[in-house]
């Protein structure tokens, strides 16, 4: 099976449309970034507190908001977590912006949110703990103390194991929320054990599944570091490509990748996705993909330059893009499909991450033939070298064949 046999498209003739398209995308993205006063940074980069709460049923957002206001916490946002594969995930993220500097302020935000949740939602009984918030050690403590199975002195290990089992059941089978301790009988737990637990625990209809607290200093340091490291990586690529091809190729490739990252950031702003540390990893991945695509085309250009010494560079570049088109469509299509599956099925945590990749693969593929290659042609034609192409890198197949 084959999609393309022979294609003959004048890519370089359409370069001005590509440039116009890129410029439009960059301007729209830039406008959105300016309008919103910069990218939406996640907690990783801006600092603050995020509490991820999972409910047994639909989350009572208004009640939570009232509860938070009563606790004197006003600068919060409550975002329901929704998922394409799971639109009613019964989960909300409570974001609290950083106010203070010290670790006391860090903790204060978290405990205020927890207090508000317990005050408004918890059917808390005096002297009892919330089962959904209890760790295995707290549960085994209770069991050892009450000894419902009358195991006597040897009880420790048995109860530790039992507690782990119960917590596993709660977290893995029930998504972290158990609304009735009787549900635990599904694990085969002895009724006496459940009765003992009931004496010490109550069940709320929610569980805290994730808490993140990031101090403002850490956030800004991470932001700086992510940028610096990415620039280093781009610099490394520039040097290697300049060494293997010509410096203008390196510059064009890096510019194209830069363009991809900027457009992706713009789209992040338009679609209101937050930039987190995992998104940075996704951006680095897209840098890799885009660079890969560009080099495949550049490699063909280098090879064709030797075969077609008389032809102008623009013809060579067109030919090279056409020759690699089948590969470009296949590879990009397959990887695009991969990340699309991730975007749809990957769940809440991977959402922004896979969005960056979905966008990145489209833009990265396009920028290889739409930006990087035309830039090289434009530069050479401007320098008056368009008539005969010159590449001074190592001769194809000579140096490397030995390795």
């Amino acid at each position: 099976m084959e999609f393309f046999k022979q294609v003959d498209i004048d890519w370089m003739g359409k370069a001005k449309y590509f440039f116009a398209l890129s410029l439009t995308l960059l301007l729209v993205g830039g406008a959105s970034l300016i309008a919103h006063g910069g990218p939406f940074y996640g907690i990783d980069f801006k600092g603050g507190t995020v509490v991820d709460v999972r409910f047994a049923g639909p989350p009572p957002i208004d009640t939570i908001r009232n509860g938070l206001t009563q606790q004197g916490i006003v600068n919060t946002t409550i975002v329901p977590v929704s998922d394409i594969s799971n639109p009613n995930s019964n989960e909300v993220l409570i974001n609290l912006e950083e106010k203070g500097q010290g670790s006391e302020a860090l903790d204060a935000g978290k405990s205020a949110i927890l207090n508000a949740l317990h005050a408004t939602l918890g059917s808390g009984e005096a002297g009892k703990q919330d089962f959904n918030a209890a760790g295995p050690s707290a549960i085994s403590d209770v069991l050892v103390r009450r000894d419902p199975l009358s195991l006597g002195a040897t009880a420790g290990d048995r109860y530790t194991q039992l507690a782990k089992q119960l917590v596993d059941f709660r977290d893995k089978n029930r998504g972290g929320v158990i609304t009735n301790l009787n549900d635990l009988s599904a694990t085969g737990a002895n009724p006496a054990v459940i009765a003992a637990l009931r004496d010490a625990f109550y069940t709320s209809n929610f569980a805290i599944v994730n808490v993140e607290i990031v101090g403002p200093k850490v956030g800004s340091e991470l932001r700086r570091q992510a940028v610096v490291v990415t620039l280093y990586a781009l610099g490394g690529m520039l040097v290697y490509i300049a060494f293997r091809f010509e410096w203008v190729y390196g510059a064009a490739a890096v510019l194209a990748v830069f363009h991809d990252v900027l457009i992706t950031l713009g789209l992040f702003s338009i679609f209101h996705f937050e930039i987190s540390l995992t998104v940075i990893a996704a951006l680095l991945t897209l840098v890799g993909y885009s660079m890969n695509d560009t080099i495949v085309i550049f490699d063909r250009i280098r090879e064709n330059t030797r075969l077609m010494r008389r032809e102008p560079l623009r013809v060579i570049v067109n030919r090279s893009i056409n020759q690699t088109l089948s590969r470009t469509i296949l590879t990009s299509g397959l990887t695009f499909m991969t990340v699309l599956v991730l975007f749809i099925m990957g769940g809440q945590v991977l959402r922004a991450f896979s969005f960056a990749l979905v966008v990145g693969i489209l833009v990265g593929t396009y920028s290889s033939f739409g930006i990087a290659a035309p830039l090289v042609v434009a530069w050479n034609e401007w320098r008056g070298q368009g008539a005969t192409a010159v590449i001074t890198g190592p001769a194809a197949g000579n140096k490397l064949r030995k390795t």
């Binding site: 009892k128 977290d171 990031v214």
Partner: protein, 541 residues
């Protein structure tokens, strides 16, 4: 089959075997599928974001240790000057690293200077600005750095000992960042940061004071009133422990009047262990043993004070005040109605000693195990679906050669996972991004090679030479794309931290594995196939 090809095949099989050992272990060949699976999951370590757990970044306030050193030196300078009967107006601490010796007797200034520079070589001495005969002592920068380093090392060691004693699996305590005195603590599987934090934060200050008034007071004011507004000389007020903090109800507070000077402190402790309480069934006590030296003090002291109460004060809170029944030499018990965990934690804090400086939390993340499990499940499901689609497509599009690509792809993943297991690297969410990029570039390598072979076949080359040329031509491109990406990944690995580094590590391993599978292994399979098939047959590509 040529012997050359045979050796290549043997090499590939050997690599695969080594990988399987890495993933599943060999010494005790697992019998069941479940055992195999658990071996596998034990070997691939998951990051906190996938497994759940607590991640803390804390900053050690090293300037406190520097300041303490300055206090110490100030004391010593004063003493040294007094010993030599050198007159001065004042010795004052100007800042954490500066001491001012104010207004020395002019004729003794030279002597003072010599004494100070002899006895305190870690300090620079200079005439105090705007003074006829005074000196400004400044701690040398190298000494400040020394103290900071020592404090950091000690803090890290203390925190590690305390965390280790919590008995969690594979906790991490390590210096973090560049020179900001930060320490990272990672506790896989621990969903409650408060326990770890309280263990880290606890100063571990234990003091045993004699209780002066046998009955506690309900408030500070009441205690003062009972003594007519002034506490007896050499005594102090200590707040009692508030019990049952879990219920959220404020418990009644009590205040004790105790001797100011402790009989015994935590420094005199030789060991501390949690034991089941004999008095309060279901609760735990902490037994402690004193050093011989402290025992020599403690024995006579308890003998003299039989019938009185001894307050066990932990972190400025009085835990219990047992009555001294007889002479005790070197053992004691803290009865606090502790839970097992609480008692264990207390024992370990007492054993591991005090932190050299206080700490501040900069970051705290807790990933609940349910969220981590969700991420894993989603990630694995998505990966399997997309791998299947890629495989089906490759077979449909490249027919038999597509099978070759699938073998290369799967082998690539196996090598990548095995390398992670061998290096003990941790698989995180960004690491999965690296795996995705690896898969993408693996598919790309195969597509590049196959397209080239097709081009050569179209130019009516024989299958053998088409395969040969296809691999040779595509190899140049593959090398360029891989080296470029590896170069950038090396930068990320060297200069990045945490997630960025996790991404870089999986990417580098994956790309190296891909060079092996897509180029070497795939070529061997082609050669094998070509050697087996009849000369006139067409290549299935």
């Amino acid at each position: 089959m040529s012997s050359n090809l045979k050796w290549k095949l043997i090499f590939i099989v050997a690599v695969i075997l080594v990988c399987f050992v890495g993933l599943f272990g060999i010494p005790n060949p697992p019998k069941s599928f479940a055992a195999l699976k658990s071996n596998f999951t034990n070997r691939i370590k998951l990051g906190l974001d996938l497994q759940g757990g607590t991640h803390l970044i804390l900053q050690v306030q090293v300037q406190e240790a520097v300041s303490q050193e300055t206090d110490q030196v100030l004391d010593n300078v004063t003493k040294a000057l007094r010993d030599k009967t050198i007159r001065y107006d004042e010795v004052r601490k100007l800042s954490d690293t500066q001491i001012l010796v104010h207004n020395l007797a002019p004729e003794q200034a030279g002597t003072a200077r010599n004494i100070i520079s002899d006895q305190f070589p870690d300090w620079d001495i200079a005439p105090a600005p705007g003074e006829a005969s005074g000196y400004l002592l400044t701690m040398k920068a190298s000494h400040v750095a020394d103290i900071s380093q020592r404090t950091m090392d000690q803090a890290e060691e203390t925190i590690r000992r305390r965390i280790d004693a919590l008995g969690l699996t594979e906790p991490l305590v390590a210096p973090y960042g560049q020179g900001d005195n930060e320490i990272i603590v990672e506790l896989p599987g621990e969903g409650d940061p408060n326990r770890a934090k309280s263990v880290i934060q606890a100063g571990g200050q234990l003091e045993l004071h004699l209780v002066l008034d046998s009955t506690p007071y309900p408030s500070e004011a009441a205690a003062m009133a009972a003594h007519g507004g002034v506490l007896p000389p050499n005594s102090q007020l200590v707040q009692g422990k508030s019990s049952a903090s879990t219920s959220g109800q404020p418990s009644p507070v009590s205040w004790y009047v105790v001797d100011r000077v402790p009989v015994v402190t935590g420094r005199d402790l030789r060991s501390a262990t949690a034991v089941r309480s004999t008095k309060n069934i279901g609760f735990y006590d902490v037994d402690f043993t004193l050093s011989t030296d402290a025992g020599r003090r403690f024995g006579p002291f308890t003998e003299q004070n039989i019938g009185k109460q001894l307050g066990i004060v932990l972190e400025h809170r009085l835990q219990t005040a047992p009555v001294i029944n007889g002479r005790i030499d070197d053992t004691g018990v803290i009865e606090g109605q502790f839970g097992e965990q609480e008692a264990n934690d207390l024992g370990l804090v007492l054993r591991s000693g005090a932190l050299p400086a206080s700490i501040k939390y900069l970051e705290e993340r807790t990933v609940g195990p349910s969220l981590g499990a969700d991420s894993i499940r989603h990630g694995v499901q998505a990966s399997i679906v997309s791998l299947l689609v890629v495989m089906i497509f490759m077979v449909v599009y490249y027919r038999l050669s597509g099978v070759n690509a699938i073998v290369a792809l799967i082998l690539n993943l196996i090598i990548l996972l095995a390398a992670l297991a061998y290096f003990g690297a941790v698989l995180t969410l960004p690491g999965i991004a690296g795996v995705i990029l690896t898969i993408g570039m693996g598919v790309d390598s195969n597509v590049l090679i196959f397209e080239r072979i097709r081009e050569e076949l179209r130019a009516s080359k024989a299958p053998v030479s088409a395969v040969d040329m296809g691999f040779k031509r595509a190899f140049l491109t593959i090398i360029d794309t891989h080296v470029t990406t590896v170069v950038s990944a090396l930068f990320l690995g060297l200069f990045g931290t945490g997630p960025v580094r996790g991404f870089a590590i999986t990417l580098v391993i994956g790309l190296l594995a891909n060079l092996f599978t897509s180029v070497y292994v795939s070529r061997v399979i082609f050669d094998w196939h070509l050697a087996e098939m009849p000369r006139e047959a067409e290549l299935s590509i």
